[in-house]
Symmetry: C2
């Protein structure tokens, strides 16, 4: 019986009427493409799939129910989720029909959380699972192993994890299915990414923003995303918003997002088969027509791309009620519907008859293999969505054709005297990479590429824009239907696009203001986890690294104020597995080029590069830069005067702005204390600091001490929060001699020098810290200290009076 929909309205003023998910199919698209025989076959295929899901959730033995179901057949701890399985299977299997009919190239992205049984069942029925994991063979024994491993120690998880053939989207954290899907179809003109979106997932911010991706999709050069919004109705314990608004609002919402929504709603399986078949037919035909028109005319445009809204009961095809509580069509079917099946004999009987209702003895043969007439419904070879190489993108990845980064070198004849914008050279390097790789490299960023001084890229590839154009756009808008730079003011969306683009075998990077990269902390965490697991899955081929360029950094956000100051993304990244994370802070332009070149060639890492976009002093010529970056950390002899001596103090730096101030402090010390012996150390590769047993980049203790000594004071000026250095070096001998300065959350509207002073990272504070830590200077210390303090006060007074720093600090050069 259908549950009647009630409305929140108290009279007719507002149209709020929801539609019950029950009954005969209702759909926008008309037609009955399936014969009665086909319906029978699809129904049996559906049953086979659903049977597999229940098997995964419950069974450790008796996989074909040839014996009477017994408690010992049930796993001691049943884990997993039933709620969205039926709807996802239904979608997947019906798209198979279109793949076969039109010879489509397609992948399936499973957005809803914990829907793994659905996609695992399809990979198994298509034979891919047994090909990849031969012990999970297509027979009774393999089936038993396939069931038992699910959500079982040492087995596979309840999402579409990296172990799942055909998956490039795990979906443990919700919200990224659509942006991932768009990433896969950019520059993949023949691909259709069928993307199941949960209605729970739809409530998240990242998902809500990503529907607008259509304004960045070119129907000539890109493929198509075909979303299937699954109005499953419920989350863990709540109804979903989109399942409880009126049909009118729901339709308007997606028209507003730029889509044409086709509805398929109901619970009656036979009529739902017809409706889904007809609707997919309609959508694929529309996609093909749009692409044909654009490609033949060579004129791109933005159509209202088709999408499907599938409304089916949560836990569809399960028992409607158990123990007088709703199960099908309610949130109680979200997870394990009968959690006590092992201990409650009545529930065991319910489970048995439920599983038998899917007719395992009919849909599988005696050995446990899917009947041939059902197998015939699946595509073959790489046309199977579970076997599409796009979902194992490393297979398709071709190394970038790289221009020689050395040819973009900043001309550095003497260290520390020339100012130059490091980012501008990088922009040119990227420009030439785009030129050499016109269809497998894109740049991503939230509206800041130009502001981040990377605008040279537009010479090779403009910003993709399928929204409307105004006359003003001619005035430097750099917009184009086909381009290489992707910008929307959603860090989530651009990160999702980039991840999808990489996961499907291509290359790219994200540039972002440093403070707002925290917005995607969680996405980056999840990507790290994905690639870490991929390293353990033999058949997964490595993909290009996720390269994140952080610029507009904390030390030059003095004018944007406190909200724009947070360098703590590095702490988040440093928590991830050392197998997959790398952090670089190049001190100047040539080091930045060398680092970027290295990162773009690497695979299966998340590389974070921190480099400011403003003009900065340049230190190393290209040869020295390459050597320095290759070592990752080293002594700068030109800035040191301890040659042949024990240093009194080690001045160390990591990051471009901190290096500048550390050098200025070094110069001050040498000016005021001529006999002081200073060693200057710069760190590019942050993980050089950590113990070698903790990270493959870690220096050995001997190497570390060769830089930092065992017993001398080290004044370490760091780009980010200072305690990250302590966290990396706490095991090092001499760690107690390490004095680290960095951002200490002391921000306001300031000048750059004033901001540094407030956080103790300015030249005067550093010089004072050094003086205070060299015992043999204690006699002369107080006078020198006084001088430094006076200079510091003078600097602040100037800033407070004029609103800018004194030129003698902004135009400072290395004097030796």
């Amino acid at each position: 019986m259908a549950a009647p929909a009630k409305s929140t309205e108290t009279d007719g003023e507002v149209q709020v009427k929801s539609i019950s998910p029950y009954g005969t199919a209702r759909s926008t698209a008309s037609g009955e493409p399936l014969t009665a025989e086909e319906i029978r076959l699809y129904n049996e295929y559906f049953q086979a799939s659903l049977y597999l899901c229940l098997g995964m959730l419950y069974l450790q033995k008796n996989p074909l129910l040839k014996e009477k179901l017994d408690p010992s057949h049930i796993k001691p701890r049943s884990l997993g989720h039933w709620g969205s399985d039926a709807g996802q299977i239904f979608t997947y299997m019906h798209f198979n029909r279109l793949i076969k009919k039109y010879d489509l190239d397609a992948i399936f992205i499973s957005g809803p959380g914990h829907g793994a049984p659905a996609v695992l069942s399809q990979a198994y029925l298509e034979g891919t699972y047994s090909e990849v994991y031969p012990d999970k063979s297509e027979d009774s024994e393999g089936l038993q192993r396939f069931f038992k491993q699910f959500s079982f120690p040492g087995g596979v998880g309840s999402h579409a994890t990296p172990e799942t053939p055909g998956s490039l989207h795990e979906g443990g954290e919700l919200g990224y299915s659509i942006s991932h899907a768009f990433g896969t179809v950019y520059d993949n003109p023949d691909l259709i990414s069928v993307t199941m979106v949960g209605d729970g997932e739809s409530e998240t911010g990242p998902l809500a923003a990503s529907w607008h991706s259509t304004k960045f999709l070119n129907p000539i050069t890109d493929g198509a995303v075909l979303p299937v919004l699954h109005l499953n109705g419920y989350k863990i314990n709540n109804p979903t918003v989109l399942a409880r608004i009126s049909h009118e609002e729901l339709e308007a919402l997606f028209v507003g997002y730029g889509w044409t929504p086709y509805f398929v709603e109901g619970s009656d399986v036979e009529s739902m088969h017809q409706a889904m078949a007809a609707t997919f037919e309609k959508c694929v035909t529309e996609i093909k027509a749009v692409q044909k028109k654009a490609r033949e005319s060579k004129k791109a445009f933005r159509p209202r791309w088709p999408m499907i809204i599938l409304r089916s009961p949560k836990g569809w095809t399960g028992p409607r009620k158990v123990d007088s509580h709703y199960l099908e069509g309610f949130w109680r079917s979200h997870q394990i519907p009968l959690p006590d099946a092992r201990t409650n004999p009545e529930h065991l009987l319910v489970l048995e008859s439920w599983m038998k209702s899917y007719q395992p003895e009919i849909v599988f043969d005696a050995t446990g293999k899917l009947k041939p007439e059902l197998k015939a419904l699946t595509p073959e070879g790489n046309k199977r969505m579970s076997a599409n190489p796009v979902a194992n993108g490393g297979i398709l990845r071709k190394p970038l054709r790289m221009p020689d980064f050395r040819s973009f070198a900043v001309d550095v004849r003497k260290a520390g005297v020339t100012e130059f914008g490091s980012m501008a050279q990088l922009g040119k390097f990227f420009r030439d990479i785009i030129k050499s790789n016109p269809t497998n490299f894109r740049a991503f960023g939230p509206d800041e590429t130009e502001s981040n001084k990377l605008g040279a890229m537009y010479e090779a590839g403009k910003k993709v824009w399928l929204g409307d154009y105004f006359a003003e756009d001619e005035d430097g808008g750099n917009l184009a239907f086909a381009g290489r730079v992707m910008e929307i003011l959603s860090e989530h969306t651009v990160e999702g696009w980039l991840e999808g683009y990489l996961l499907s075998g291509r290359h790219g990077f994200l540039n972002s203001y440093e403070p707002f990269i925290h917005i995607i902390d969680s996405m980056v965490n999840q990507h790290c986890k994905w690639i870490e697991k991929c390293n353990e899955v033999e058949w997964r081929v490595k993909i290009a690294s996720l390269n994140i360029l952080l610029t507009a950094t904390v030390w030059r956000q003095d004018h944007n104020g406190f909200t724009h100051q947070d360098p703590g993304f590095l702490d988040v990244v440093a928590n991830k597995s050392p197998e997959v994370v790398r952090i670089y802070l190049p001190p100047d332009g040539n080091c930045l080029l060398s680092t970027a070149d290295h990162c773009l060639r690497s695979t299966n890492y998340v590389n974070v590069i921190v480099a400011d976009k403003q003009n900065h002093l340049q230190y190393l010529d290209m040869e020295a830069a390459v050597e320095h970056c290759t070592k990752g950390a080293g002594i700068w002899k030109w800035a040191s005067n301890d040659d042949g001596f024990e240093p009194d103090v080690v001045m160390a730096s990591c990051g471009d702005v901190p290096t500048h101030e550390s050098l200025a402090a070094t110069a001050l010390l040498r000016e005021y204390v001529p006999d002081i012996k200073i060693r200057f150390v710069n760190v590019v590769d942050l993980f050089k600091l950590i113990a070698e047993k903790e990270h493959s980049h870690g220096l050995s203790d001997v190497e570390y001490s060769a830089l930092f000594t065992y017993d001398k004071p080290v004044i370490f000026n760091f780009h980010s929060y200072p305690w990250l250095i302590h966290r990396l070096t706490y095991q090092r001998k001499g760690q107690s001699n390490m004095y680290v300065t960095g951002y200490r959350e002391k921000g306001n509207i300031n000048t750059p020098l004033e901001l540094a002073i407030r956080n103790g990272t300015d030249r005067f504070s550093l010089a004072i810290a050094a003086i205070d830590r060299v015992p043999r200077l204690h006699n002369t210390a107080s006078a020198v200290r006084e001088s430094f303090l006076n200079e510091q006060i003078a600097a602040r007074n100037h800033a407070w009076e004029f609103g800018i720093d004194d030129k003698k600090y902004t135009e400072w050069k290395w004097p030796y």
Copy 2:
């Protein structure tokens, strides 16, 4: 001249037509409520406001342009943003008319980034600014100071920072204006929060999700949010998506979100005044009608709430072109339109004539004060949006009426023998807080309150739901039009609601799965920054703390797998200023109650409480728990046997699951090595570990050593990533004796014990670590070590065979 809109379509198939922001006003609402005289006055008020904006951006002297504009009058470094100022002012000043006409209670939330000049100009013209900051008086001298301080060292920033009267939303990071606004109007039935939403901001995920907040607003008990979506057209360097889609799609989008959008579009100022006045009139009338109907009938319903889409040129009223480049109506007007006004004499002239076009000599009197007939347009006293106490919510905050948390105590007669779900008791405590505070306390969470075992709250206040109702909801749905629990599957939205609720003077908490709290890292960062700055603003009164309860923690996410395992939010929080952050990890139920009570009574903090939702051993009776939590860290004598001796080893723990394993390790050690002397230390308040100079909670070195000794090995089992403990303790004497275990990103589908073993936090690994570090045990070590390893292997084998841990580990109790 209006720029013609072009379409991306190549023929008539798809309706994609954008509307130019230029020309005579076009609007949905009809009527001409303003007289010609009123239009003149509003126009002059608009001019006065715009003049102030330019003054803030450019001037340090000559504030009324009484002298010819000279380079020395221009700030050496012009900073700030012009782009959205006119549109925001236009909105603010027109709402003033409605406040006066209907005696409304309203605040203004400025969503667009860097729109501070707009709101500062209004606070100044309304007189509030001078009342709060008497040196910024309403005269020429005060005006000069007001101008100079803007984006100037020591002055105020370019967002609506805490220093801004009337602001409770800084807007440095985009995306939270609507969710903040909803937070302010919950339980504020007479409040209207006029919320300016930038079209750049609209592209963000958090904002895109938050439009659905209408499904959680009750027209009887709550006020209204009146959004004004500002189609300003451009971001930093790009057009905005919503300004470049067709009128049809735009309207559909907001109907789909559940709103009735009213359009006001154009650039002709006079007709725009009429259109805006008429449209606001329409919206306020509709809001009042909805509220009246619901309140008189006592039947809540969800109307399509009115909203405004204001399309005006970016940089509206500025020069259309400068040096043949578009300025007004293009992204070039985003920041400082004439950045070289100080050095380029031509641009200085452009600036002067532009500023004079706003007629400062007419709108201000000779002393620099706004003309009385213009002043008369503003509301008075607290009716001024810049003076509304809601925006300084601490004024309105009443302390919670707190039930005695002791009455919810878990009965603990002997430590470590009873298992109990700590969260269930907390749920009852919250239930009674809700009962005692029916209109100023709400619980927030993304669909996990029940799953997190806090369901007892529903007895006092159900989940607010203004979406449609189905029959199934009667079966434990716990939905109601009026409730106390707020759930939507968007961490961003619930966090934004809670922040708005707190900022406007009320109380609440957020509960969330631990792994996905990283989704709102950046929001929490921004809230920390807000309250830290508030501490420096004298007139800001403290608000209730932001309480975040993290549950479903990493150690019990073994079955959900790797994606659900990330305890690193603590690292993000620990980077914020020690003035505002507190982190608690209560080891059991009574400690959890004591901690929660403490947090709910506190003000101006972000309190993070980490506590698992599963059943756990209970250790302390309520008296001991209060004492332990008050100290924050202490020796558990009942678990120690070093009384009167030097301990061989300190076993330490922080977090509920780690404490359980540490105790089990302690028992193992005492069983196998009877003469070992062990001290057991538990830490509740994480910042007790840090040096006292770094955080007010930090223990003195003497106190610290009294717990951890100077020289004994410490085996510290931590809830989160282990290096956070090293980062907190690196300055402590004996830090090199500290061996910390914690989550090391080693996850998979596991049992709880197996997950612990993989990360080295299980009892066996801890016991072995202790054995290895006590020199006097080296003779007996290898045999004991072997036993522990064998037990560990047996435990793993059991888990791998049965999928569950052996009962002897899950039902373990403290044996002494």
